[in-house]
Amino acid sequence: MKFVDEFRDADKAHALAARIAALCEPGRQYKLMEVCGGHTHTIYKHGLEDYLPEQVTLVHGPGCPVCVIPMGRVDDAMALASDPDVIMTSFGDMMRVPGSNGSFFDAKARGTDIRMVYSPLDSLKIARQNPDKRVVFMAIGFETTAPSTAMTVLRAAAEGLTNFSIFCNHVTIIPAIKAILDSPDLRLDGFIGPGHVSTVIGCRPYEFIARDYGKPVVVAGFEPLDILQSIYMLMLQLANGQATIENQYSRVVPWDGNAVALRAIGQTMELRPYFEWRGLGFISHSALKVRDSYARFDAENLFPVPGVRVADPKACQCGEVLKGVLKPWECKVFGTACTPETPIGTCMVSPEGACAAYYNYGRLTRHRVREATTS
């Protein structure tokens, strides 16, 4: 596969790994946060951590937009879906996220009309084919996905569709990163920047991280070599005492982002004053809602939404895992009460969550793995 296979070459990986190791100061520990769920997934899926020296630890941040949706909002979505006139459409990632009373999957089992879609545009097709029903699209994702939702709303408006709306749960990445940076127990040396979010917002929004917090950021692609190269670039900055923003994913990410995408978002959506993030609490100006001018496509305007807050259980330590303070297996309920089948907190809820990724893929101490696979 072009633009994919070349970035999965094992030989080049060894070379990069050697360079990364050579850049480690003896006795110094390096903690690099990757913010994006897709990066977490690649790291575990390809066993990338095997290439890193012991001194370099990767910490998985809150870049999984499925994971950070509070249970209360899932309950709200289920309430919307339970309306017999409603067909709810959702990405696959959302189907297994549990609310207080089960997930979309469970609701489907009880007869609720919830359909999985690959693209928000597929919801429009369903709306056209079912004029007597009202289609509600569960809109989730960071700035990567928001433009697609926005374009879908614009298309619905152009077609004059009257039975389509979105339940908007789009969140924005910068406030989350800032919340991590402002956290008193922070111990991070640098960031592997989200590749596809940056396709939309560009690289400038990260400048405050270098300027105000003195941490380097390298915007990274999603193939294993992309991530390794980005780690190498971060280590180089750290070795030289630098803190700047670099774009490793330049084949896809334009420095200034995608103006058309940003315009589409701006036209149809605006920032909410605050939004609750599972594990991180309330963060101001961190999420999007539909603008008044498009209120006819806003499910929260068209339907009664319960809006009940459901607290994270006290035993849940997701907040600390998200900030890099705890590793997944250090959480007291990891693997026992909280597993991928019965996820309690955000980090286990989606396969990209740090705990789920670790449980599903990385769940062996390194030396045991080396024992078994080098024999």
């Binding site: 390809h46 066993g47 990405f91 696959g92 469970d106 990891f334």
Partner: protein, 404 residues
Amino acid sequence: MTTPDLDASPDGPASARWVEAALREHDAQAASEATRFEHRGSPQPLPGTVREELVLERIDRARRARPRVKEDRITMSHGAGGKATQTLIEALFLDAFRNPVLEPLEDAARLHVNGARVAMTTDSYVVSPLFFPGGDIGDLAVNGTVNDLSMAGATPLFLSAGFILEEGFPVADLARIAASMQAAARQAGVQVVTGDTKVVQKGKADGCYINTAGIGVIEHSINLGVAQARPGDVIMVSGPIGDHGITIMLARGELDIEADIYSDTAPLNGLVADLLAAAPGLHALRDATRGGVATILNEIATAAGVGVVVSEDDIPVRAVVRGASELLGIDPMYVACEGRLVAVVSPEYADNALAALRAHPLGAQAAVIGTVTAEPPGIVQLKTAFGGTRIVDLLVGDPLPRIC
């Protein structure tokens, strides 16, 4: 971060009852563990690696605990072939029917009937759409049952076919399905000797459901079963994986994806016969249906208490299956096949086995994908194409397309 006072109810935010229940259960479990392991307690914080080991041991214990079905309703996960299916079978069905013939939970039961060794199996087919590139529910039904018998090392002989038809289902379609079944049966050398027909009201049965049962005779002395896998055994697959599952996913039309791909449904009894003749050191055979190759590897590891190590580079996947999987964010290792087998062979016979597979048209692209190891028991590991390592666990639910 400010926390505005938004609580809708005067008592404060609600909390999910099922979470509280899960945590209470966990605390009770931890408390009973603590009393048992009190003497091991150490006041000093343990070094990182040792702590991680303890947590992993805790997880292993939790996973080995007696399976229990926690849900009070069946969900699609229970049919996906992964963890939920297994739990349902072990906790509910095995519990209800318990007997030594059922316990091994292999693809087919091995029976002794008046001195003859007979294998018996049953399967239900609920695929939608009924007709897809490469086949239809009829071929699937015949081939699936023929294959389950073949995996037991039996020569398939006779099939039953029970039909549950939806009111309004076109007779022409039924005729088409029956014709497919006869063609498949002829190709496999079996006969449909008995059957049943029921009709249910419109809205049930998705058009047509088929159940087939089959019997065959075991005419050699090789004892096949996933529990027979031994450290050092070689694991091979008979051809590229994931074709059927991806075909069905695309054929459903919801994803609007077109590709030149068709189901791999095929009867494997001829291939198995060749394999048995060439490799008496065959330990296990499984066809990679629901849950895919990954599920079978886990079944081997768990049943035999061994480790399994496979190499991503060696697993054959067609480019178009790979493309569709990448696009949808699915792992082909978990995608169903309907005409592929996984064989576990003792090392002395590995070369013969591979040659025998490759000599047969259905095994032309057979490949060695990995080995059985002694450690760590019950775990399947993948050496990624990139050179790293990761675990391949049992699936939780259906492989759903992801966007993230």
